[in-house]
């Protein structure tokens, strides 16, 4: 928790502005164009930078702080450390400690040092309207940013491993396919050889041996190539490792501004010192790899001599055979073909074993990947239930696991295109009860029986559909296709006993804000700015939800509201009301004080002002 203590602006649209912001609730009111939003956005700009604001708000800042206007924000953080932020449009922000030292190690714009939440109306509506997508997820994920970052790093790594694995599987499958075609082409060489009448003049045993040897030679070359490739890949991996180690070991534990900086700096040095050892080991490994590469090159050279000699010998024998009878020549050709088939078959056997290992490896990679995604969902569920506890029972926030699955659906639509079956929509609806990895497994194993049992499509349709998927859907991509959680944010719009929850996207503009505000208010302890340029909390019953939430949570975090609804300052008991006005050229704070001190302005400027005061006196018995 931290607090904004004061904001000062020199130049721009609000020159000479200087306001102390109290704990609790501050309401900014005033006519259109009086600088309310500029004040709120200037605060966001100073703390979070221009890129934290959406386009419209950034434009406002660009226009109203032009000409070198400087925003100064004083903040007090936990442990009563004080900071000052100074920022203007064209210059780098400056962060100072209370004794005037500059802090250079903190990037304010990352939003983790002095986190600040600011929402303008369009931003709130955008979250409400986005049923699928990441805006709502971010609301939750941000609250566990550290853990999320860790999981996402592992996820990315896992995704890379899955990609590499998929590439190797595809290559192996393609090669096996090629080999099979080649073997088929050579086809009946064995049979033809056997059918051949025994010749009077047998080809020399040497010729057969050499023909076979030539195939083996080719494979030896291929192995040398692949060893060479693997070693180079390994070298790159070590390089990568070294780079990552550099980052990890140079991580600074010490926070510049922390009182513990002395303690932690010692450990930073220890960490940095051990980097040397890591570098040494990495260099040693790289050295060994280079050596191995050299060895491979030498092996290649040595074997090349042997190969050349074999080739020479074979050429000589072939020439001899040329001279022999037509019959003998045919036999010789067939002998060569059979030797080739044998070689191809052996190669295929080896590749099949490799493929099996790759698929086995993929199983565990895939499982890890999917379980990590589940972990994210579980974390979101945890956050959602925390928020739910704070947000009250008018709004409901819930996680619909895996309900953001457009990509999957699209893949099914595309995969079905070639199938000669009717009622695609119905088919897809049925298949959508299967998870992608489940369907991928059925496609991969061509398990039509299970597919039929799971979908009840009947034997023939099942066959057609599965065949179509086998043709056009890549199961390796399907099983890890992007699927995300959907976050339901719902408002109980019923005014009677029986609850009727509607998703925020289905609500009127005012209701959207009502649904979102309790959640935005409850999210965390950092200061919060809400800019509602219009009074869109339409229904009396509904604004109570917001007023209640503000009243309850303002003790926990500082809130700054730009509002047109008198009920918010009056009934939620604003600790400070800022009345702004403008002569068209510049704006200023015309009056500031408690709700009662600004009573006249609240009644004049805000809709329902008088009623709000009446309601308040009815409730609390105060004037």
């Amino acid at each position: 928790m931290w607090l904004v203590e004061k904001i000062e602006i020199t130049g721009g649209f609000l020159p000479g502005l200087s306001v102390n912001i109290p704990r609790g609730l501050t309401c900014i009111i005033g006519p259109r164009g009086s600088g309310k939003s500029t004040l709120a956005e200037a605060l966001r700009f100073a703390v979070r930078g221009i890129s934290a604001a959406p386009r419209q708000c950034a434009d406002l800042i660009q226009a109203n702080l032009a000409g070198g206007a400087l925003v100064t924000v004083s903040a007090v953080a936990e442990g009563s450390n004080r900071y000052t932020i100074k920022r203007s449009l064209k210059q780098q922000p400056v962060l100072l400690t209370s004794d005037g030292r500059t802090i250079n190690t903190v990037d304010l714009d990352r939003g983790t040092f002095l986190p600040l939440d600011a929402y303008s109306s369009p931003e709130i509506e955008a979250i409400a309207d986005e049923v699928l997508g990441e805006k709502r997820r971010n609301l939750l994920d941000e609250l566990r940013s550290e853990q999320m970052r860790t999981i996402h790093l592992s996820l990315a790594e896992s995704a890379r491993a899955l990609d590499t694995n998929a590439d190797r599987i595809r290559t192996a499958q393609r090669t096996i396919q090629d080999l099979t075609e080649q073997i088929e082409e050579l086809g009946d060489a064995r049979a033809r050889l056997n059918a051949l009448a025994p010749s009077e003049q047998e080809p020399s045993a040497d010729f057969v041996r050499l023909s076979r040897q030539q195939q083996v030679n080719q494979r030896e070359n291929a192995k040398l190539d692949s060893t060479d490739r693997d070693l180079r890949a390994l070298e790159r991996t070590v390089d990568q490792l070294r780079r990552e180690a550099q980052v990890a070991f140079k991580e600074r534990l010490a926070e510049e501004h922390s009182a513990n900086v002395g303690i932690l700096r010692r450990y930073d040095d220890l960490l940095a010192a051990s980097l040397g050892t890591v570098e040494e080991h990495a260099s040693a490994i790289t050295g060994q790899i280079h050596k191995a590469l050299k060895t491979v090159a030498e092996a290649r050279q040595s074997i090349a001599e042997a190969h050349t000699s074999h080739a020479g010998e074979l050429a000589r024998l072939t020439a001899l055979n040329q001279a022999a009878s037509e019959h003998a020549r045919e036999r010789a050709t067939l002998e060569q073909q059979v030797a080739r088939v044998q070689a191809l078959e052996e190669q295929r056997l080896q590749l099949n074993a490799e493929l099996k290992a790759l698929l086995e490896k993929r199983k565990s990679l895939k499982t890890d990947y999917i379980l990590m995604r589940d972990q994210i969902s579980a974390m979101r569920e945890e956050v959602a239930s925390e928020l739910q506890r704070e947000a009250g029972d008018r709004v409901r926030i819930r996680i619909m696991r895996n309900a953001d699955h457009l990509a999957y659906q699209q893949m099914l639509v595309d995969g079905l295109r070639g199938a000669r079956v009717r009622n695609h929509e119905e088919i897809i609806a049925t298949i959508m009860q299967l998870r992608p990895e489940q369907l991928a497994q059925l496609i991969q194993t061509n398990d039509c029986d299970s597919f039929e049992e799971l979908t009840s499509f009947g034997a023939e349709r099942s066959r057609k559909i599965l065949d179509s998927f086998r043709d056009s859907v890549d199961p390796l991509a399907l099983e890890v296709i992007a699927i995300e959680d959907r976050i339901g944010i719902e408002l109980n719009v019923s005014s009677t006993g029986k609850p009727n929850f509607k998703d925020a996207s289905d609500l009127s503009r005012g209701q959207k804000c009502t649904a979102l505000l309790p959640i935005l208010l409850a999210r965390r302890d950092s200061p919060l700015i809400i800019d509602q340029p219009e009074d869109n909390l339409d229904n009396h019953f509904i604004f109570e939800t917001v007023v209640n939430a503000v009243q309850r949570l303002k003790r926990r975090r500082q809130m700054i509201f730009i509002t047109h609804n008198a009920n918010i300052p009056v009934l939620a008991e604003a600790d400070l009301v800022l009345v702004m006005n403008s002569d068209g050229r510049i704006g200023a704070v015309e009056k500031s004080g408690t709700v009662d001190q600004c009573r006249e302005q609240i009644i004049d400027l805000l809709e329902g002002g008088r009623e709000a005061f009446e309601l308040r006196s009815k409730r609390y018995g105060s004037a």
């Binding site: 499982t367 999917i370 589940d374 696991r401 895996n402 309900a403 998870r435 497994q441 049992e453 799971l454």
Partner: protein, 369 residues
């Protein structure tokens, strides 16, 4: 088949790695049936187990399978957060007649509980506060309000022990101004007992509105409980219906401590026991007998669980039914609430601060006019 916990742990992982194999194993479990199946189905209701629930919902091969698992599916549907599982369950339930009253009553009850427990468990898993949950579940089942019956002054209370037992009492508002009164005690403790109590309440409530024949009602409740509960769980249950017009108390006693009727007469205070009925419910299919007992103005009925009569002091002595009767006699003429409070206080005074190992439940009825 391996132990259910091991199977469950294995399947949790396997369901991601190899859904097809998981399905095969589940179908084996389904065909072998028995408690292992129920235990497995009961153990997969946390949000994290959506994958297993989906495999279960999609594995069902025919109408019979689906009907058999309908209560679980209905229960899960209420709390499901996973989209694929949600679809699978909806599809499995489609075309199934889930209105079948008995099944639905139980299923929905289980659903309500599963939902509550699932949510609670998720939040408290790390704290391992099973007892607290069971306690909340139990409290939830005690009547929240008492229907008003002309000429009858009555009330009830359960004082849970530190270790949660399975005591149960309920008042039912019946047609023609009658009142249903139930007191029972489920064997065992903790969540298992609380769940059975929930089933008991659900079956009793679903059956009580059906007809007047209490013996038949008890037979049905027994058979529902027999089917729904594991082999070694049972409950005692006393159920009575009081008709204020005729002053008749029609009752069946299934193995419960006989309630006492204290009646003032010329000879002093007479004590009558309501014993007609049969054995405890949930163990075997059974028949029961009922009795219609005429009450007279001034009668005091005391219904209790063994937690009251067996209240123990520090020297392991029981309070005992005799002491309970003697004490109750001194309460003649007092309002029901006062009688109840005094008896509970007396039982506690006897225990003198010794920790009680069982819930104490007491229901008192007084005929005013």
């Amino acid at each position: 088949m391996e132990a259910p916990e091991i199977l469950y742990e294995r399947l949790r992982h396997l369901v991601v790695e190899d859904p097809r194999e998981t399905r095969r194993i589940f179908l084996q479990l389904l065909d072998s049936g028995g408690p292992a199946l129920d235990q497995f189905l009961g153990s997969i209701s946390s949000p994290a187990d959506g994958r297993l629930r989906q495999v279960v919902a999609t594995a069902l091969r025919n109408h019979r399978d689906r009907e058999r698992l309908a209560p679980h599916l209905i229960a899960w549907q209420e709390i499901e957060t996973d989209e694929f599982t949600h679809r699978a369950i909806a599809r499995a339930l489609k075309g199934l007649d889930t209105r079948s009253a008995e099944q639905t009553a139980l299923a929905l009850e289980v659903a309500r509980l599963t939902a509550a427990i699932g949510r609670e468990l998720a939040q408290r898993e790390r704290l391992n506060r099973e007892l607290e949950i069971a306690q909340e579940v139990q409290e939830h089942f005690f009547p929240q309000r008492l229907p008003s019956i002309p000429g009858l002054d009555y009330c009830g209370r359960c004082r849970p022990a530190r270790e949660v037992g399975g005591d149960y009492y309920d008042f039912l508002e019946l047609p023609e101004g009658r009142l249903g009164v139930a007191v029972g005690d489920v064997s065992g403790k903790g969540i298992g007992a609380a769940l059975m109590m929930a089933s008991l309440e659900a079956s009793l409530r679903s059956q009580a509105s059906v007809g007047h024949d209490l013996a038949e009602l008890m037979r049905r409740v027994n058979s529902l409980m027999y089917e729904a509960s594991s082999a070694n769980r049972y409950a005692t249950l006393f159920y009575a219906e009081y008709d204020p017009r005729s002053h008749r108390l029609c009752y069946v006693n299934a193995g419960h401590n006989p309630p006492l009727i204290l009646r003032k007469s010329a000879l002093g205070c007479q004590v009558l026991r309501l014993e007609t009925g049969g054995p405890v419910i949930g163990l075997l299919p059974q028949r029961y007998e009922q009795e219609s007992f005429p009450l007279v103005v001034g009668d005091l009925a005391v219904l209790f669980t063994d937690g009251v009569s067996e209240s123990m002091n520090g020297r392991d002595e029981e309070w005992g039914e005799e002491r309970l009767i003697e004490f109750a006699k001194t309460c003649q003429g007092l309002p029901a609430f006062e009688v109840m409070t005094r008896i509970l206080a007396a039982a506690e005074a006897f225990a003198a601060g010794a920790a009680q190992h069982d819930d104490m439940t007491l229901v008192v009825l007084r005929v005013l006019t």
